[in-house]
């Protein structure tokens, strides 16, 4: 696939961020985690695109918007292989890969139904105790929520 045909699928932006290599079935989770449904910027996305490495993938392009590492790293939960292109004046000026952060606040549901975060109006907080296996320890009930049962709230 040439670069041009790829660009045609999701129209180019002048300034902003392109997030590539999102698993297609994680697209809406990424939108949700980054709060893209709540901002006014122009956003274009393509999904179910063929990817050489991961089956069907999705791309999101957000105009006039750049992300702090701490913010963008949250999507490692659902799109650990995502790549960022930082675009200025139609040129890719920087590339970033996603890293798993040390903590996750608010976005993951605790797997323990008896946890205070599932009973009272309390936002969740987790520390990452294992980055390879993606194991998150709840700050409140101290139970582990791991890869297979991570649910984004």
């Amino acid at each position: 696939m040439t670069k041009e045909t790829k660009e045609l699928r999701v129209s180019a932006i002048k300034n902003g961020t392109a997030i590539d290599h999102i698993p297609a079935d994680s697209l809406f989770n990424v939108i949700n985690i980054l709060g893209l449904d709540k901002i006014d910027n122009t956003i274009t996305f393509g999904t179910n695109l063929d990817s050489q490495t991961q089956g069907k993938k999705a791309i999101i392009k957000i105009s006039e918007r750049y992300f702090e590492d701490a913010e963008i790293n949250k999507i490692s939960l659902v799109a650990p292989n995502a790549k960022l292109n930082i675009i200025k004046d139609y040129e890719v000026v920087d590339k970033k890969v996603i890293e798993i952060p040390d903590t996750f606040d608010k976005i993951v549901k605790c797997v323990n139904p008896k946890c205070v975060t599932n009973v009272e109006a309390v936002s969740t907080k987790f520390t990452v105790v294992d980055k390879n296996e993606l194991k998150l320890k709840c700050y409140y009930c101290e139970k582990i929520t791991s890869k297979g049962n991570i649910e984004v709230v």
Binding site: K114, V116, A121, Y140, C141, E142
Partner: protein, 303 residues
Amino acid sequence: MKNKSLISINDYSKEDYLKILDLAAKFEANPVQKILDGKVVATLFFEPSTRTRLSFESAISKLGGKIIGFTDAASSSVKKGESLKDTIMTVANYSDLIVMRHPVEGSARYASEVSKVPVVNAGDGANQHPTQTLLDLYSILKTQGTLENLNIFMVGDLKYGRTVHSLLIAMSHFNPTFNFISPEFLKIPDEYKLFLNEKGIKYYEHSDFTEYIDEADIVYMTRVQKERFSDPIEYEKVKNVYILRNNMLENTKDNLRILHPLPRVTEINEDVDSNPKAYYFQQAENGVYARQAIIASILGLDI
């Protein structure tokens, strides 16, 4: 530790444990010290636990403090639907320290975030009960003269028993050997075995009492609860396997002591009670000194 809540055994370092134990010994030598004069401690029991509450209230009384609170959620505003946050924020205005027990896991940590006064966790569901662990440590130290290099047997429900999990974490600082005795489906969870492996601590698992009990320094008994069994026949089969009887103690070491967080049901036969190796009632007494030490150190009171 001053002004710091005690929510989880993981909040304290080895040095913190030793400081508390040292202080507990001073309170045992001289239990009535009115250092809490003019202070108010709230004991909020969102679920009843008579034993733990009485132990705390005894500790507070010996320190000369006043107690306010409730003994179960039914007699409090919680029944009217008040949130935990509102209850804690209100009570924090009336007290210098909050002791709370709550069935929801993580509730004590949350309370410590919203409270302007320190919180002591007196049990949050199946999660943590750190004052129990400190009194267990105190009992072990007192009876063995050391916490180092001991052979500790844990018996019964090792899967759900939070007291054994917390004690295991706390003792891991002192190079122990563990022997776990439990039915197959109440075995110690893998996460604790991984923890012990990482720390290089030796442990052995058994499905019933073995002759190795003759090597034990501490036998920590817990209750195997009927509710844990989906099959009542299975319960009937195993319930007699995990009962400690006096004749099993014949060849055990002189320094062996039997501990149990209480209440006991049938897992320690009453014929053990008169054996000098039975220590569970003194252990309960030690709880008062340990709690005096915890309260005094959190409130920064010198003795």
